[in-house]
């Protein structure tokens, strides 16, 4: 056999092998044991927990709103013994929001008197007849339902949703703004039930996200009946199957 043929054979074989190697390398991803790199959970230090800080700041921010409601308190709940004024935290502070709020309220009151409306709408509601009151309540419930269904993330996507019923008490001021935090009426014990816990969160979130409920004071048929809609019990839950 001529040497050229041998060299040619070796060369071709080498070329084929190199091609195979290159082909293999092209599609190769690393092969490895899929070891799991550990993650250590470090406890939160006290300084890292800003919840307390947040609440403190939130309180500070809320304070002017509470002040704003103070003059309305006696009118909102007529009583033989006047409510004592709550201690003011920032007596000496000049608060433009407070003053403008008071001016607005005074102006509205004046306008209502001109339009023939009663001097203080907070007086209305208590003297309603049973039938009339039922009509107002029905209208309020309908308005609230219409608003809250847009803010409530339904529990329909949760396991066993029929049992996830949450009742929340909501307090509003005469402008339809939420007063304080909504209170969970039922369930009573849900701390260790994560799904019920989430159902409660969804209800509370809906109430907060929908705030303010200005459509109530602005509604011509229920707006003046603050006594009727100032405290409401809202039930969140899917329709029970018959």
């Amino acid at each position: 056999m001529r040497p050229g043929v041998i060299v040619s054979l070796i060369g071709h074989a080498g070329a084929v092998m190199l091609t195979m190697l290159a082909w293999e390398a092209r599609s190769t991803l690393p092969v490895q044991g899929a070891a799991i790199v550990p993650v250590e959970i470090v406890d939160l230090g006290a300084e890292a927990n800003v919840r307390a800080l947040a609440e403190q700041v939130a309180d500070d921010e809320v304070a002017p709103q509470e002040e704003e409601q103070l003059p309305e308190e006696p009118a909102a709940a007529p009583s033989p013994t006047p409510q004592p004024r709550r201690p003011q935290t920032n007596d000496d502070d000049f608060n433009l929001a407070d003053i403008s709020g008071m001016i607005d309220r005074q102006r509205n009151r004046g306008r209502r008197q001109q339009e023939g409306a009663p001097a203080d709408r907070n007086q209305r509601g208590a003297g309603l007849g049973t039938e009339e009151r039922a009509t107002v309540e029905s209208r309020v419930a309908s308005l609230m339902d219409r608003a809250l269904r847009r803010c409530w993330r339904s529990t329909a996507d949760m396991p066993d949703p029929e049992r996830l019923i949450v009742v929340v008490e909501v307090q509003l001021d005469r402008n339809g703004r939420l007063v304080g935090q909504p209170r969970v009426v039922s369930p009573v014990n849900y701390t260790f039930d994560p799904l019920m816990n989430e159902a409660v969160n969804r209800a509370l979130r809906a109430v907060r996200v929908c705030d303010p409920y200005e459509f109530l004071p602005n509604d011509p048929s229920v707006g003046e009946y603050f006594e009727v809609w100032r405290t409401q019990e809202v039930r969140f839950g899917l329709r029970q199957s018959q």
Binding site: V50, M144, R153, M158, Q232
Partner: protein, 435 residues
């Protein structure tokens, strides 16, 4: 006595009067929406450019996880008003309410003296103006993706009330090469498609990988020794072993919920029956005894029952039996053939593949066969596997003349997404949450 009675009466009367005085409007909200919750995830802070880079990457993975779940809608960062400067300072909730963020996620990355990184994060309920949860993690810098998944799980759990599924992995059959000489290898990756690695070489074909629901162990079928055999693969020790030498062909293995047993099919003399094997004692027991083909066993999460497929009724259908083989009963009665039943980790549903009218569908039904729902359908959808929380199903889809790819769909059937894989991919198996 009279005094006590009087006191009780007074109490009752006062309660009645109080109730009437407190008469409230009762509002009944029965319909809500199921729109994704708007969430703001801020790029995590970092003291150095490298830490800032990791912080941005973590926030990106968290956003992608939340968005992919379809339960959340991460808000575009361009809409953010407040620029978070420090983790210790409470956010200005009013700024986040304005952009309709219902939850806010902030965090920071801190390099530690030992070379690791510490990641702190906080989740705030914007409208309640309070912190919902906060954690700190420490790990190696290259392990930041796991931290992002852990944080995503924390957020998911806080905002849905259910366990998360982001810190988990998928093992599947990677397919490459021409159709006539297809190379099928085991590959593993994060549930979002990141960090893919081969687990087996190109020489032996592998099929039907299955994760243990409770340990980092995989069982699969391999032709490594010539005949098809069931292998066990421990991902923590990186050890592989043949499950047993059986007189026939063994396939379709699946772990029991506690990982101590494997149910599988053994085909002897053309009759496929379901067996179970104790992995500690290697003792084997037969569960079915029928001339028809019985295969595809899958345990209920409490380990008391097994669902499987059988053609004993004339066509392929889904059956359920007790874990000892007793009480066998058919549960699927719809049109077409039903196969690959897989019990949900929640226990409330069984996922299946249905073949009808020349198309394949992935669906779910209750363990008694009621409430059947088809989630997705195509030319070929097959091999469902559940996420650890029983919320999402992954499967493979193959188009006519196209390679197989992995897809996921949630229980609504509306959130259908392709999972990126470096090669064609089939037969996915979802891991439990990582330890």
């Amino acid at each position: 006595m009279m005094r006590r009675l009087f006191f009780a009466l007074a109490l009752v009367l006062s309660a009645v009067f109080a109730a009437s005085a407190e008469a409230q409007v009762r509002v009944n909200v029965e319909e809500g929406h199921l729109n994704p919750m708007p969430v703001a995830v801020v790029d995590f802070l970092g003291a150095s450019p490298a830490a800032q880079q990791v912080g941005g990457d973590i926030a990106g993975v968290v956003r992608a996880n939340l968005e992919r779940s379809a339960l959340f809608r991460p808000i575009d960062r361009a809409a953010f008003i407040e620029r978070i400067q420090a983790l210790e300072v409470p956010p200005r909730f009013a700024d986040w309410k304005v952009i309709d963020a219902q939850a806010l996620v902030v965090g920071q990355v801190t390099p530690l003296p030992d070379g690791r990184i510490r990641i702190d994060f906080r989740l705030y309920d914007v409208f309640a103006e309070q912190q919902m949860t906060g954690f700190s993690y420490a790990t190696t810098p290259d392990n930041w993706r796991r931290i992002a998944h852990r944080i995503s799980d924390q957020i998911y759990e806080q905002l849905t009330g259910e366990r998360g599924y982001f810190d988990s992995r998928i093992v599947f059959v990677s397919e490459s090469g021409p159709r006539t000489r297809r190379v099928k290898r085991l590959m593993i990756m994060d549930q979002d498609g990141a960090n893919p690695f081969y687990l087996t070489g190109p020489d032996a074909m592998v099929l039907t990988p299955r994760f243990s629901p409770s340990t980092q162990m995989i069982t699969y079928l391999s032709y490594e020794t010539g005949a098809p055999r069931v292998f066990l693969y421990n991902l923590e020790t990186n050890r592989r072993e043949v499950m047993g030498d059986f007189p026939g062909m063994s396939f379709a293995p699946r772990f029991s919920p506690d990982g101590s047993r494997v149910a599988f099919t053994l085909d002897m003399n053309g009759n496929a029956e379901i067996y179970t094997m104790d992995l500690r004692t290697r003792a084997r027991s037969r569960l079915t005894n029928h001339p028809a083909i019985d295969t595809g066993p899958s345990y209920s999460p409490d380990g008391s029952q097994i669902t499987f497929e059988s053609d004993r009724g004339g066509s392929q259908q889904i059956y359920v039996m007790n874990a000892d083989g007793s009480g066998q009963r058919r549960i699927s009665f719809g049109e077409g053939r039903y196969a690959t039943p897989v019990w949900s980790p929640r226990g409330d549903l069984i996922a299946f593949t249905r073949q009808s009218g020349g198309r394949f569908a992935i669906g779910v039904m209750r363990p008694d066969g009621s409430g059947e729902r088809i989630l997705t359908e195509s030319y070929l959808d097959e091999a469902p596997t559940w996420s650890p929380n029983g919320r999402v199903i992954m499967f493979f889809r193959e188009g006519r003349g196209q390679g197989a790819r992995l897809w996921s769909v949630d229980l609504t059937g509306r959130n259908l997404r392709e999972i990126p894989t470096p090669t064609d991919a089939s037969d996915p198996a979802w891991s439990p949450l990582l330890p």
